[in-house]
Amino acid sequence: MHPTDFTLAGALAALNEGAISAEELTRAHVAAVEALNPKLNAFITTTSEKALDAARASDARRKRGEAGPLEGIPLAIKDLFCTEGVRTTAGSKILGNFIPPYESTVTAQLKRDGAVFLGKANLDEFAMGSSNLTSAYGGVLNPWQRKDDPSARLVPGGSSGGSAAAVAARMALGATGTDTGGSIRQPAAFCGITGIKPTYGRCSRFGIVAFASSLDQAGPFARTVEDCAILLRSMAGHDPKDSTSANQPVPDFAAACGRSVKGMRIGVPREYRLDGMPAEIEKLWRQGLDWLRDAGAEIVDISLPHTKYALPTYYIVAPAEASSNLARYDGVRFGLRVAEKDSDLRDLYERTRAEGFGAEVRRRIMIGTYVLSAGYYDAYYLKAQKIRALIASDFDAAWAKVDAIVTPATPSAAFAEGENADDPVKMYLNDVFTVTANLAGLPGLALPTGLDHQGLPLGLQVIGRAFDEETVFAVGAALERAADFKAMPAMRAGA
């Protein structure tokens, strides 16, 4: 077996048995990154030497009997997580030379548990996008190809497109992502892998470049539900440096993957049956519900009446918070500075920000600035916060009837570069099934359960109660066992 084909759990077992060393495992992944990254552009920065050093240190720890729960596991880190001494760009030109003097809490915990970092994964600029095409460092190629048109350049989804492509192409055993409106679940679905956005507050946001603070949440990508559960346990936990991080015990998520779904009530929200939804998505959804029924779950029709307002609500709340968060990029304290010889301070700000930010980021800053400006705050921002409360209470009502909710992850399979590009709103519709979980703060997991007529992966989403990721993992694992998804992308290590 090629070392890049291990699951994360399988690699941990092989490392424990001494069947492979961390150095061998990392070397195989470094080779995969070097071979595939020139084509896929999944990494903005690779740290192969550091990774090999870390792997050797990991082997030494294991020898001393000090192996952590992720000892020797090579990961890709979304380039939104600050990594001490390693350039962190957020996919933006404005942070092109930024070397953080500190480590994010999530990556510090992964390191604490023995993980090895292969490099910084590509993403949409400041995590704003659904295609990875807004990255200042170029788009990422989805490793999957259309049966009828293998030369079409498919996007990996976004914003965590590099993380998802790296895991799908077997350049890494797992990866970190962040999800503000669907940025873990949509790329997971597009790349045929698994990803979870946990409950808001489950993972610390300290050291993650901020986009929309009340929505941003870190989570893992991997090729199995169990592997995601293993990673999340290391990433999660209370952090005094993030006042919104929850002081809740972190359960053994992997143990929950083995729980039976017998007797569970699974909700099917009628508002997620969109007009014009492709028949294959509808079929995928029905199939998933049949599998859960066969496993002993009860399928229950539910209503989430404010669903159709979720995306426009998101496109007020997220840009408003982004315009505030991104005010810090001023060309003075860190990052890019653009000034003319006779520039005053204001001209320096304006030139730096106009040149440093890409078109989508500028657009969202403008929208956010407008909806927060005097005279419009109540009509837009306050109104959106009220509708957000209604969306959250829709879910509260649903939890009286069901234990988890199952929906499609995305309204389509991966699209090609250039498609959906003519109209920003069309691109935003990619997140129609995922954005509600962000607004309500709930955990959502995406996993591949089938292929479309072009041989591209399609995913389902499992949404759960706040801080009940265990049920989400149990339902996800049941779907995974039934789907037995074995298809692999055309471009991958060892192929």
Partner: protein, 98 residues
């Protein structure tokens, strides 16, 4: 609600984004497209609804307080390490006061 070109210029100025004259019409069209789509929210009845601020399930009240003490500081070199222009222990900026 549709933005005129003067409002587009004003918003760009508030956001400290330099906007070239030839780009105003394009940006105006994009922003109005998004705002037109958002407009559907006005149809939702939100009478008596408490706005949801923050993403914490259970609300902001669930967030912890810590003691009001200094926990960090005295790291001028780390803070200045990424400065595009520095003079000693200060950030360099264009002259502000004539």
């Amino acid at each position: 609600m549709s933005l005129d070109t003067a409002t587009v210029r004003r918003v760009a100025a508030l956001a400290r984004l330099r906007l070239e004259e030839q780009d105003v019409a394009r940006v105006q069209g994009e922003l109005n497209g998004i705002l037109g789509w958002i407009e559907q929210l006005q149809a939702v009845n939100t009478d008596g609804v408490e706005p949801m601020a923050g993403g914490t399930p259970g609300g902001v009240a669930a967030m912890p307080m810590r003691e009001d003490v200094v926990t960090d500081g005295g790291q001028a070199e780390a803070v200045l390490a990424n400065a595009p222009d520095r003079e000693g222990e200060y950030f360099g900026v264009p002259k502000v006061v004539e």
